[in-house]
């Protein structure tokens, strides 16, 4: 008996030992085949699609966001009761039963989309039915909460989530981010297992873009453009606002716009970002840069006079006329040529410059080349190659025979406003890496200096003259602020043939505010207005409304009557006459008409540029002018009071400070 027990015990022991040895062999000895089998059974690769990065404005307001959405697909082969499934789905998805059944009736198909981009609650409801053969894929849906705001600039996505237009296209790679593939262990039911304390369920994110755009300013610009289109029965209107110092884009719009959540419902015409993609003949706004280039080359001064041929000037076999036949100008200073927008005067300035110099000047101001703005589809505009025939030179001097984008024109105005430096406009303020949180900020990118600080100041003073009473841009004035700018009324080029369209114009106004220390450069253009067409009537008031809002929003203090004590004596005298109130509040803003009188620059009475001259040279320069000069200090002129280009005081005395 005992020996039998021993035999059984030994037998069991041997069997157990064999099992343990086999287990140890499988467990501890390396075996590639078994490893591969194990990996196939317990390991899975999960692809985590990156959530597309958000786009926000300069104040953090969301402009484009992504949210999870669930796309429902079916494997018709394994759906058991297709009729019942179709009925349930049709009710939940608000579709017709036939439409759903049509998709799933073919039992040979293994994959068919039922509906894409469903909300989470809808997906949860369908999941709860537990119908075999229905599954979901998690995707990201792009949402533009502001609908039409900044639509053309933001752009939109295709059905597969790729950027097709605007910033979505330009920054597609950064916004899309990188999808993450992770290898995770799973259990018998396919659930991922915790590994090293980590669960790989967090989706990676694309970069967040912070724009320089201010959405409130953007909205105001858009609504004013829409008003202008409706009021003047125009085809469309465009507008751009730049930071005067850096050329950062604060707003850019084209009206009519479209709901960027439904891009398919808008035509390509509405979806295009015309500010950067469309070049057109700008008209008289171009005179600003012709004069600026001549001033830079030392060929003219603000007080240089030109005979304007009583409004009619023969160039080759053509006759150049002023915009209105009643305008029969004779001797005009350069300031007046700009203020009155004389075609003949500008033609004469262009002839004085010559085609080479004028072309180079315009190229230097950024025309005819891409500025390098961080928006896709930028047009370069056109500055024709030399040689130019005389009438072409003449046409180009007043903005025909040349084309430019609204952004190029605004940016060239910004160069005058900021003291003479042409910058690259930009819309991306910063890019935040969602993974690391690192913020990469965009800095202003100067391209070149196009004017000296003094020349830019002279140009600003002349452009203020345009908006004073008598100038063409009087309607662009804003109470309490000095405004500088230039009107433009250009005939519209016939897109299908030669010449211009009869009775079709592009009315525009480009300028800056406040002119004494520019903060905003604004350019607006209205295409084919039918109720009026002069830039002075159509675009200048539009500029005024936008500019008025911009300075108010920025909190820039207007010139107040009560603060005249610190202003110059002339200003004080003029305003004190009709201001008797001693009440502390409210302070009254100086009206545009009063500002006109204060900033009036009579013909030939601008303070000449005496900078860096010796006493002897100053005396030689002012010889023959009705001026008394008070010298302070010794050496070269470092400052002139009042400033260069400003109006000469009533007492005809200017102070020159030498150092």
């Amino acid at each position: 008996m005992k020996s039998r027990i021993v035999v059984i015990f030994v037998g069991i022991l041997v069997l157990w030992s064999m099992l343990v040895l086999r287990a140890a062999y499988l467990q501890f000895l390396p075996n590639d085949r078994l490893n591969a089998l194990q990996n196939r059974q317990f390991q899975t690769k999960v692809t985590l699609q990156a959530r597309r990065g958000a786009i926000v404005d300069r104040n953090g307001r969301d402009l484009a966001m992504s949210t999870a959405a669930y796309s429902l697909y079916a494997d018709p082969k394994i759906i058991e009761n297709k009729r019942v499934a179709a009925r349930k789905l049709a009710k939940a998805l608000n579709m017709s039963v036939d439409a759903v059944y049509g998709k799933i009736k073919d039992g040979n198909r293994r994959f068919v989309w039922i509906q894409r981009m469903l909300e989470q609650n809808k997906a949860d409801e369908i999941k709860a039915w537990d119908i075999r053969g229905l599954s979901f894929v998690e995707e990201w849906r792009r949402v533009y909460p502001n609908e039409t705001l900044l639509a053309q600039t933001l752009g939109f996505l295709g059905s597969e989530g790729q950027g097709l237009e605007g910033l979505e296209l330009g920054f597609n790679q950064a916004l899309a981010g990188n999808q993450k593939k992770v290898s995770v262990k799973r259990d018998a039911r396919g659930r991922p297992l915790i590994h090293d304390g980590l669960l790989f369920t967090e989706n990676p994110e694309g970069d967040e873009l912070r724009l320089t755009v201010d959405s409130e300013l953007q909205y105001r610009l858009e609504s004013e453009l829409v008003n202008a289109v409706e009021t003047f029965e125009a085809d469309h209107a465009v507008g751009v606002i730049l930071d005067a110092k850096t050329s950062a884009v604060l707003a850019l719009a084209s009206a009519p716009s479209f709901d960027v959540n439904k891009p398919g419902k808008a035509t390509a015409e509405y979806r295009r970002n015309k500010i950067v993609t469309d070049a057109f003949e700008p008209g008289s706004t171009m005179k600003t840069f012709v004069i600026a280039a001549a001033l830079r080359d030392g060929l003219i001064k603000p007080s240089t006079k030109f005979y304007c041929e009583k409004g009619s000037y023969k160039v080759g076999d053509r006759i150049i006329r002023e915009a209105e036949s009643k305008e029969k100008f004779e001797d005009l200073t350069v300031s007046e040529i700009l203020a009155l927008s004389s075609n003949v005067g500008t033609t004469k300035i262009a002839f004085k410059m010559g085609a080479d110099n004028l072309r180079q000047g315009l190229l230097d101001f950024g025309f005819g080349t891409r500025l390098g703005v961080d928006l896709p589809g930028e047009a370069r505009g056109m500055v024709q190659a030399l040689p130019w025939r005389p009438h072409l030179l003449s046409n180009i001097s007043f903005g025909h025979g040349i084309s430019a984008t609204p952004l190029q024109i605004a940016n060239a105005f910004a160069a005058i406003a900021n003291g003479g430096v042409l910058n690259t406009p930009y819309i991306l303020q910063a890019k935040r890496d969602a993974e690391t949180g690192v913020l990469t900020e965009t800095a202003a990118k100067p391209i070149r200096r196009v004017l000296s600080a003094e020349q830019a100041a002279q140009m600003r003073a002349m452009l203020v003259g345009v908006t004073t009473q008598g100038g063409t841009g009087g309607n662009a004035r804003v109470d309490g602020f000095m405004v500088g700018g230039k009107t433009g009324t250009a005939q519209k080029v016939n897109p299908t043939g030669r010449g211009y369209l009869k009775g079709m114009y592009v009315s525009s106004f480009g300028g800056f505010i406040p002119a004494n220390d520019p903060k905003f450069v604004i350019y607006v253009a209205v295409d084919s207005p039918r109720k009026a067409y002069y830039g002075a009537k159509v675009a200048a008031p539009l500029f005024s409304r936008v500019a008025s809002y911009a300075v108010r929003k920025e909190g820039i203090a207007p010139l107040l009557r009560a603060e005249l004590s610190s202003a110059d004596p002339k200003l004080k005298r003029l305003v004190a006459a009709d201001f008797k109130s001693t009440k502390p509040v409210p302070k009254e803003v100086i009206t545009a008409a009063e500002l006109d009188r204060l900033t009036e620059v009579p013909t030939g009475e601008a303070v000449p540029n005496l900078m860096n001259l010796t006493t002897r040279e100053v005396l030689r320069r002012i010889n023959g002018q009705d001026l008394r000069v008070k010298f302070v200090g010794q050496g070269l002129v470092s400052e002139v009071v009042p400033g260069v280009g400003a109006a000469i005081p009533d007492d005809k005395e200017i102070t020159v400070i030498l150092k």
Partner: protein, 111 residues
């Protein structure tokens, strides 16, 4: 219990300790797995809540869009767009002058 009988039971205690240790290891591994599932569940809930938050953020962005605020202000509250001349400007210079007048009056009274 005598030391002799304790010595005889020692192998059993050793085996008991080994078995208890093995059971503990298995228990801990099961606990780790169970907690893993809890974490997975919570992670999914967290993700769901996070997505709900995003949806609410989108809804907030939609209801605070300038177009809507403008139309509500104008149509529901019959407000009009602000005009530049409706803004009251208070200047520092005038505040000082007013202060001087007030101070002057006080000094006279004190005297």
């Amino acid at each position: 219990m005598s030391s002799e009988s304790f010595r005889q039971l020692k192998p059993f205690f050793s085996i008991l300790i080994i078995i208890a240790t093995l059971f503990s290891i298995v228990f801990l591994q099961m606990e780790e797995r169970r907690m893993g599932y809890s974490v997975l569940k919570l992670t999914r809930e967290h993700k769901k809540v996070w997505e709900e938050k995003r949806v609410k953020e989108i809804a907030l962005a939609k209801v605070t869009r300038p177009q809507l605020l403008d139309s509500v202000a104008q149509q529901k509250f019959t407000l009009k767009k602000v005009q530049a001349n409706q803004i009251i400007h208070l200047s520092g210079a005038m505040s000082e002058s007013v202060e001087k007048v007030v101070n002057k009056g006080l000094v006279k009274k004190d005297l």
